[in-house]
Amino acid sequence: MNLVFDQNLILSLITVGIVGAAAGYLGSIMVLRRLALAGDVLSHVALPGIGIALLYNLNPFLMAFIFLFASSWIIWLLETKTQLPTDALIGILFVASLATGVMIIPNLEKLGEALFGDVSEINIFDAILAVLLSSAVFIIGAKIYKGLVLGTISEDLAIANGVKLRKINLLFLVLVSVVVALGIKVVGTLLMGALIIVSATAAKNLSRNVSRYAFLSTTFGLIAAPSGLLLARGYELSPGPIIILVGVGIFLLSLFGRR
């Protein structure tokens, strides 16, 4: 192993740590609501946004967020207002985005960054943005978490008990879009879904109540992302895939502790 703890590495560790934790936290809700695959698909939708940002020299995070939010809002609308088969529509949205994104993004190197992430050039502003937005995700997430869980068990029960389900569903989509847009920088669009799913699935194996589940899922994200980054740096590997593999390792270990 050959590690130099320079400013860049420390900023990268902070960024991937907080984004990993936020992804784990929101992922715990995604997995409970059986939205794991939807999250996976959603992250690809950012690709055309990143492509446009690269073409016109715009902020890639912002464009990714706009594309993510717009498409999750469309899915939300289709789900609540029509009887169309949502899973098929999400599938079409996914391939359409992937195809468009690959076409728009100007060169292979940039495409690789978008698909698999790139934390080598994280600067202080990226780190501050990640910390601020992730904190917002935790604060808002904590307010709507219980309502979302109740809505997962029974929508009628949730609404009858004053949970504004439609509103918090939409808010939840905004939070997911924020975290995915942040995470794309870390692990890329292809692997972002995994960052969301893997911590939560491991935590679910080890939890009998919601507070422990949310705590473990967040913690696993917080551990997996920076340790994956360190491993990758030490052995000169690509960080995105290593972060996900560390997460998968935690998941495999959690199988032994299944309740």
Partner: protein, 238 residues
């Protein structure tokens, strides 16, 4: 003197231009046990949703001012690996642990070593409870805020609540001891005769309303189920 808790006038509900409920009129007095019966797809659950204000409707649903309503939805499956404990579930009502434990006793969780066992129950994941236990926890959830009316969507018959207790004995006890007014949906005509003070039969529109022995004539039942099949035979298959 009778006190009207609920007055429903010209209640209609439509989804996508399909009429689900058509022009219902009825009222509920304090202390009533009202059974809502009707064939599958008659709109019973939709009626509950309208009474609770969960869906849009036309017509009038007037509850007595500031009345607290407890709602027990149709029994649903909680997946075994759902990481939500009984205590966390009941905590949605924010009543504190003492109230939780008292309410669990009220719905018939009887244990000897009280302190230890109740804490055990509160830490159990919802998904590992038996059908009867889950049903009781759902009733406890509805009762936690001390409601005056309980809306109960299909109390499941044949569910083992432990001992000789049936869900209907429990409901009757709640009515007698705590002065609850109860509205429940049922398929089982025997239960209606045995426990209900009033029955509302619907099949999109109101077919009958009144005390069971008066309201449920052979004529009405035929109209309700649309066939010559005796409802006595029909219900024994459930």
């Amino acid at each position: 003197m009778q006190e009207t808790l609920l007055n429903v006038q010209n209640l209609s509900v439509s989804f996508d231009r399909n009429k689900i409920l058509d022009n219902l009129n009825f009222s509920v007095q304090k202390g009533d046990i009202l059974a809502v019966i009707g064939p599958n797809g008659a709109g019973k659950t939709v009626l509950f949703r309208a009474l609770l204000g969960l869906i849009p409707y036309s017509g009038k649903v007037n509850w007595r001012n500031n009345i607290k309503i407890g709602y027990v939805p149709q029994r649903f499956i909680v997946e075994r690996d759902m990481p939500l404990s009984v205590g966390e579930f009941l905590d949605y009502k924010k009543t504190g642990e003492n109230q939780m434990i008292n309410t669990l006793k009220m719905v018939g969780f009887h244990v000897h070593d009280e302190h230890h066992l109740f804490h055990h129950l509160l830490n159990q994941p919802l998904g590992v409870l038996s059908g009867g236990e889950l049903q009781k926890v759902l009733i406890a959830f509805a009762l936690l805020v001390d409601p005056k009316v309980l809306l109960f969507d299909e109390p499941t018959t044949g569910i083992d609540l432990g001992g000789e207790e049936t869900i209907y004995n429990l409901l009757k006890k709640l009515k007698d001891k705590h002065g609850l007014t109860i509205i429940f949906i049922s398929h089982d005509i025997h239960i209606v005769y045995q426990y209900a003070s009033n029955v509302l039969c619907i099949n999109k529109e109101k077919v009958c309303f009144g005390p069971p022995h008066e309201a449920l004539s052979a004529e009405e039942l035929k109209k309700l189920h649309g066939a010559d099949v005796g409802i006595y035979e029909h219900s024994s298959h459930h």
